[in-house]
């Protein structure tokens, strides 16, 4: 009887034990077409040296929202990031050509 009980408890514990001992798996990549677009645009602005302060954080927030199943919130945040990244790129491209016009004269 004792042997049967210990065998039973071993059988019951094995799956949970293997779950506990298992290597933590990496979180699944969270993404949506809008997030991907925003990330690509952010990289473009960064390459010019003109990335804005909050764009990366907005993309991260969009990913977090998506992970929680909040699709609409995620899209909203990703759209903001995309807008910022595109504006930053336009700013960088304009400044690369026209920065000398910004030198004040007196």
């Amino acid at each position: 009887m004792k042997k049967v009980l210990s065998l039973l408890s071993l059988l019951l514990l094995t799956p949970s034990a293997s779950l506990l001992l298992a290597e933590p798996t990496a979180a699944p990549a969270v993404s949506s077409p809008l997030i991907d677009q925003a990330e690509a645009a952010r990289k473009e602005a960064d390459a010019l040296g003109y990335e804005w302060r909050d764009t990366g954080a907005l993309i991260q927030s969009a990913k977090d929202a998506l992970q929680k199943g909040q699709q609409a919130e995620s899209d909203k945040l990703a759209s903001q990031a995309l807008f910022q990244a595109r504006a930053a790129t336009a700013q960088g491209q304009y400044m690369a050509k026209n920065w000398k016009m910004m030198i004040p004269k007196n």
């Binding site: 003109y50 990335e51 804005w52 909050d54 910022q84 960088g92 400044m95 910004m102 030198i103």
Partner: protein
């Protein structure tokens, strides 16, 4: 036959004339002269904007512009908040590394070398700042580099600055590569960036001396003379590049890392603009 000789002579004369009048492809450009012209314009802007302020006083930053602020600052400087940092910096400067050498073994003149930095290293083709040299000395001697914005790097820099007070700023731009770095720094200074679409020059040239809420905006001329600074806002001492990063964040731009090429070029440009002033760091600021 006669015609052939004539044609030959004509062509020869033409080639000779072209060679005499045209510039050779390798004609030396006087980059220092280009930069000196910029310095004259830049300093002239501030001298015209603030006619009562002498050139050498711009090293005192905003305290050169406002008498009340200057009085408060002078009182604070009687018992300077960076004093303990300078002492700590001295100890770190002389502290032996594991190999028996010290920071002192990397710097000439007993460490009074503030006036030698920043400079453009013609072999490495990049700007070398004082903080960069401090960390490179540590790494070359098998030590870990200091974190680049505050703490020990600022303390050692403050000590070096303190024993170098009065050294004249005279940064040279001798080559095309140095001029390119200077121009990158210049672009960084004048180009607008970030969510607020603002530039260094927008605040520290066009709006210098005006109020931003309760504070007066400091003039860009003299910005690099007095770092590292003990800022009341920070409650501690920090480097110039820490301040650059803070400014970039304030205007909604992603800051570059301290000692990045971007900030070193900016420091190079800004220090060149202060040529003729004296290093007077460390200092206290609000």
């Amino acid at each position: 036959m006669k015609k052939t000789i004539q044609r030959g002579l004509f062509t020869g004369a033409l080639v000779l004339l072209t060679a005499m009048t045209s510039k050779p492809a390798h004609a030396a450009v006087n980059y220092q002269a280009l930069v000196d012209a910029d310095v004259k314009k830049f300093q002239g802007y501030f001298l015209k904007e603030f006619p009562g302020v002498k050139l050498e006083d711009f090293g005192d930053g905003v305290y050169a512009l406002d008498e009340d602020s200057r009085k408060q600052w002078k009182e604070m400087e009687e018992f300077p908040p960076y004093e303990l940092d300078v002492e700590a910096g001295k100890a770190l400067f002389n502290k032996p590394f594991a190999n028996g050498k010290s920071l002192g073994s990397c710097f000439s003149n007993g460490g009074a070398v503030r006036g030698m930095y920043p400079y453009f290293d013609e072999k490495r083709k990049e700007v070398i700042t004082l903080e960069m040299a401090i960390n490179e000395c540590r790494v070359a001697n098998g030590e870990k580099p200091y974190a680049p914005k505050k703490g020990d790097i600022a303390r050692v820099s403050a000590y070096i600055a303190s024993i170098s007070r009065g050294q004249k700023i005279d940064v040279k731009v001798k080559s095309k590569a140095a001029y390119d770095a200077y121009m990158k720094g210049k672009e960084m200074f004048y180009a607008k960036r970030g969510q607020l679409n603002m530039s260094c020059s927008g605040c520290h040239m066009e709006y210098s001396g005006r109020h931003l809420r309760a504070e007066i905006i400091s003039p860009a001329l003299g910005h690099t003379t007095h770092f590292p600074v003990f800022r009341s806002k920070w409650g501690e001492i920090g480097t110039l590049h820490r301040r650059y990063a803070g400014c970039n964040e304030n205007i909604g731009a992603k800051p570059f890392p301290a000692q990045s090429k971007e900030y070193r070029d900016l420091e190079f440009f800004q220090t060149v603009m202060s040529n003729g002033l004296k290093f007077n760091g460390p200092a206290s600021r609000k």
